[in-house]
């Protein structure tokens, strides 16, 4: 077992188990009366209804972020049960994973707080396959230096070639969000396309913070004359939420220590670098509302390296970030042409030596 939290599926397990026993009892009774089926036939019948009946299609290796993973479930890990926190029977849906990080849906957000049903392409070794979030879990410490973010249902892990170790296996995998499907998403017409946060906070924030969020048709965010940023119309909702939260505090005075100790949902009278970055990430649904982080702590936040939409640069003294091609910073570090002098959006790329690049999963 990998520190996965207990969940409230025990009653359902009991009901399903009772129904299965009753059904099997009737089957046995009926078949016995007929006297025509052997024990082997019954065994075949049972195996057809048990785990493994849903095929997991293996693909060639995928890309994405390298993260720590563990396995759970199976005969060697009975305490994990068979019903995910989503209510789905994992034996019947073996292509499942649990997002780690906490004991509730809100706190198990090591992947950004994905919605149930969110597919991930998970690669281990030479194989990859699609798994769907159907559970959450507590998690544990880093694995080979990578944050432990995902628990693989044992049958999914086995399909990837991971040896079953009674729920004790842990290792490094790659995780990648596949593109959204369906005509509306593919044609870019869906209102909530590509929402890695599951819309948990970002939707509400983007809709309510600082009035309507301006958007631009281009692929990059644009700083408007009023110093607010317009988000790419096709950007993930989490990105739009970050930009909306940034617009909310553009121009706030810089005060060292300002903004700390308050819920991230509140607009503080002043901010420093880390509190402002935290406010933006909350706006994107990427930090819980009660988070209070220093610049140094952002050095180990999220995943290593630059992201597609969001990249943080953190050091022990400062943190800034790029969102959809524009920079959020507390001063115009790239010179006079770098926009306003204070907290807000800046158009230029600045010096980043001495900083660690990090990014949220999926962004």
């Amino acid at each position: 077992m990998s520190g996965r939290s207990q969940h409230s599926g025990q009653t359902l397990v009991a009901v399903v188990g009772l129904a299965a026993m009753l059904g099997l009892g009737v089957l046995v009774t009926g078949f016995s009366m007929l006297g025509g089926l052997t024990g082997q036939a019954l065994a075949d019948c049972d195996s057809g209804l048990s785990a493994g009946s849903v095929a997991i299609a293996l693909q060639s290796p995928g890309g994405g972020a390298t993260v720590g993973a563990s396995e759970y479930g199976g005969s060697g890990d009975p305490s994990s049960g068979t019903v995910g926190s989503s209510g789905v029977n994992l034996d019947s849906s073996p292509d499942s994973y649990a997002e780690l990080g906490g004991t509730t849906f809100a706190t198990a957000d090591a992947l950004g707080g994905l919605a149930y049903g969110t597919p991930l392409r998970i690669t281990w070794g030479k194989h990859s396959a699609i798994a769907y979030k159907r559970d959450i879990g507590l998690g544990g410490g880093p694995i080979d230096g990578y944050p432990r973010v995902v628990d693989l249902w044992w049958e999914f892990a086995r399909a990837l070639g991971i040896p079953y170790q009674d729920g004790e296996w842990s290792g490094v995998v790659k995780v990648e969000r596949p593109p959204s499907t369906g005509a509306g998403n593919t044609l870019g017409q869906t209102r909530l396309a590509e929402d890695p946060s599951g819309g948990r906070n970002a939707v509400a924030c983007a809709a309510s913070v600082g009035g309507p969020l301006p958007v631009t048709n281009g692929p990059r965010a644009v700083i408007e004359p009023n110093d607010l940023a317009a988000a790419p119309v096709d950007a993930p909702v989490a990105v739009k939420g970050i930009i909306a939260a940034g617009n909310e505090i553009v121009g706030k005075p810089y005060v060292y220590g300002g903004g700390h100790g308050l819920p991230l949902s509140e607009v503080a009278p002043s901010y420093d670098c880390s509190s402002s970055v935290a406010h933006l990430l909350w706006g994107g649904g990427l930090l819980p509302v009660d988070t209070d982080m220093t610049a140094e702590e952002f050095e180990s936040w999220g995943l290593s390296g630059p992201g597609k939409w969001v990249t943080l640069y953190a050091s022990s003294n400062h943190v800034f970030m790029y969102i959809a091609g524009i920079r959020w910073d507390t001063h115009n570090a790239a010179g006079a042409a770098d926009g306003s002098s204070g907290i807000g959006w800046h158009p230029l790329v600045r010096e980043d030596s001495g900083f660690v690049a990090r990014h949220p999963v999926g962004l």
Partner: protein
């Protein structure tokens, strides 16, 4: 009644119970537990062969019922390949009015310049699973579709199961008495 007759009756009851249990297990739980799958006829539906609502049909009075207008529109919207998507979106624009018309025109223009669709060999196929009126909004309909996106020249969509999607559609009655789609907003 002989013991032999009792055995035969017991056997018959047993068979009936077996079939009842199998039906319950397969029919009752299969849809809820198994990943949604497109029916074979739907996955092999050739998008170009589908009838496309035309501007002529709309201008001549549209469809006989709001449900039919929405269903026909949705069926064309979700069944296309990279090679015909622009033409089909244009046809949908011509067959619709208002926001739906504008949205289809914009989408048609965008996909014409989108190298990603062609480069990946992307296609979308699906079925219209439900069309239901939105409570409290007499001209709005909720459209539930089951769709699968594929790419013949990319592995990006490999392994992804068909997924449910919801669109809110609006309809308008034309002067001729028929119904046309006037709004189209995919929500997922």
């Amino acid at each position: 009644m002989t013991s032999r007759l009792l055995v035969v009756r017991a056997a018959i009851v047993g068979v009936l119970l077996v079939f009842a249990v199998i039906a319950l297990l397969v029919g009752g739980s299969g849809r809820a537990l198994a990943p949604p799958r497109l029916r074979r006829a739907d996955t092999t539906r050739a998008a170009p062969a589908r009838a496309v609502p035309t501007r002529r049909s709309a201008r001549l009075g549209g469809f006989g019922t709001p449900r039919l207008a929405v269903t026909e529109f949705a069926d064309v919207y979700i069944n296309w390949s990279y090679s015909n998507v622009a033409a089909r979106l244009t046809a949908l624009a011509e067959a619709s009015v208002g926001q739906a018309r504008s949205a289809m025109q914009l989408a048609a223009a965008q996909v014409s310049a989108d190298s990603t669709l062609r480069g990946g060999g992307i296609a979308n196929n699906g079925t219209v699973e439900a069309v239901a009126p939105v409570v409290g909004h007499p001209d709005e309909w909720a459209v539930v579709t089951l769709e699968q996106t594929t790419a013949s020249d990319s592995s990006a969509y490999d392994g992804l199961a068909p997924a449910w999607h919801v669109t809110v559609a609006s309809v308008r009655r034309e002067p001729g008495g028929g119904w046309v789609v006037s709004g189209w907003q995919p929500e997922s």
